[in-house]
Amino acid sequence: MSVAQQTASGAVVLRTEHLGRSVGDISVVAGISLDVYHGEMLGIVGASGSGKSSLLRLLNRLDEPTSGTVFLDGQDYRQFSPRELRRRVGMVTQRPFLFPGNVAGNIRFGPLQRGEVVADEDIARLLERVGLPGFAGREVANLSGGEQQRVSLARALANRPDILLLDEPTSALDEQAKMGVEQLICSLVKDTSLTCVMVTHDRDQARRMCDRVALLEAGRLIQFGKPAEVLGA
């Protein structure tokens, strides 16, 4: 990566180096090296079973790499405790897996793990940010799919992550809810200069949302660059 390019796009916050994971004799992620710049939206695309989710789960160490490593702000991520790493590298998955109870309880969950209590005003502000004003007291069981996904986003943001990993965050939603959540994510990235790594199987979505795209095939990185270069016009 040239110096000119680095300064143009900001600093590298996350770097994978020959990152790989094998389960038995299957290589689910094979020697992937890539940089993620501060404030960018990086897309990971590829066919079903190409290793997108597996790669993402290595980035917050939900799975252990069997080769290579990840650098967070230039430091090998094994130097962080898993909990500190996961606070800094947040994750939102296809299904929201909200905890039973109300919305506020879900948002408080992350900080509470470190003994921090999120103030009511901060919860209200976060909920406004994700387009759910006044939802703090609502039971999660009664929310629509789109609303649940927004709560899941707010819950991840409450931890104030440096990087947010998104695994097909809209693929379980209908067209209208999908567009809403998509716009929300884009505005979060733009307004708060959040760094995002997003898995999607939807090439149009990748074109709409991503600054750069990594294309995987059978666990390997086969193309990496601007959406138009990787996915065609």
Binding site: V23, N60, M91
Partner: protein, 262 residues
Amino acid sequence: MLKSLFHTQLTLGFAQAGIASVLALAVVLLARRRNIHLESDAAIALLRGIVQIVAVGSILALLLKSPRWTSVFLLTGMIIAAGSISAKRAKNIPGARKVSTYSIAAGAGLVTAVMTWAGVIDTAITSLIPVGSMIIANAMNTNGLALNRFRSEVLAHAGEIETALALGAAPEHTVASYAESSIHASLIPAIDNLRSLGIVWIPGLMTGMLLSGADPLYAAIYQFVVIAMILASSGLTSLLSTMMIRNHAFSAAEQLVLKSSG
């Protein structure tokens, strides 16, 4: 009728066993007329049953003459066997066998030792072995139930658990509610036994004491004592085993490793 024909207890016993078997075989023949073929299974089971139980009886007869401290070895052997049997309920949790053996040893061992020391269990082999084995067997069942429940709860909730981990939660915190429901579920039989004691069932030990001529009231109270000891040891066992197995569901880097694929 039989008693007038057979004069030693042993011959009387075999005659009684013969008659009970004939009755069982008669039922098998009845089933056969309805085209349900149990004959070979039933015959083998009956034969096997008599051989096993006579063997155990002979060993007991020998043991009655051995010194009291031999029961310590016997009970230890039972605990080791119980540990590996109930570990099977926790398949693909690494370390389940160790966890089971330690929990049963601590739960059943502690209760048996304290109760023997307090004079609730007599130190005679004829009392320590049957009561001790009941306590161990029940601790084994409870442990198996607890591990089995914990395993299926964790498998069913991998998404919730990993979501909590991804938010920075401590591994043991992410499965706390599943550990709790496992303990509850595993103790249902022991609690129901206490509740139904004397109403729904009169357990074997009391039957035995009555048959050997003990005072019925004392036999009844002692049966309660045994069931209460079983509850204590089962509770301790399942508390310990769920606490220990929790850690085996995760790797050192706080990753969920107990999953259906692995």
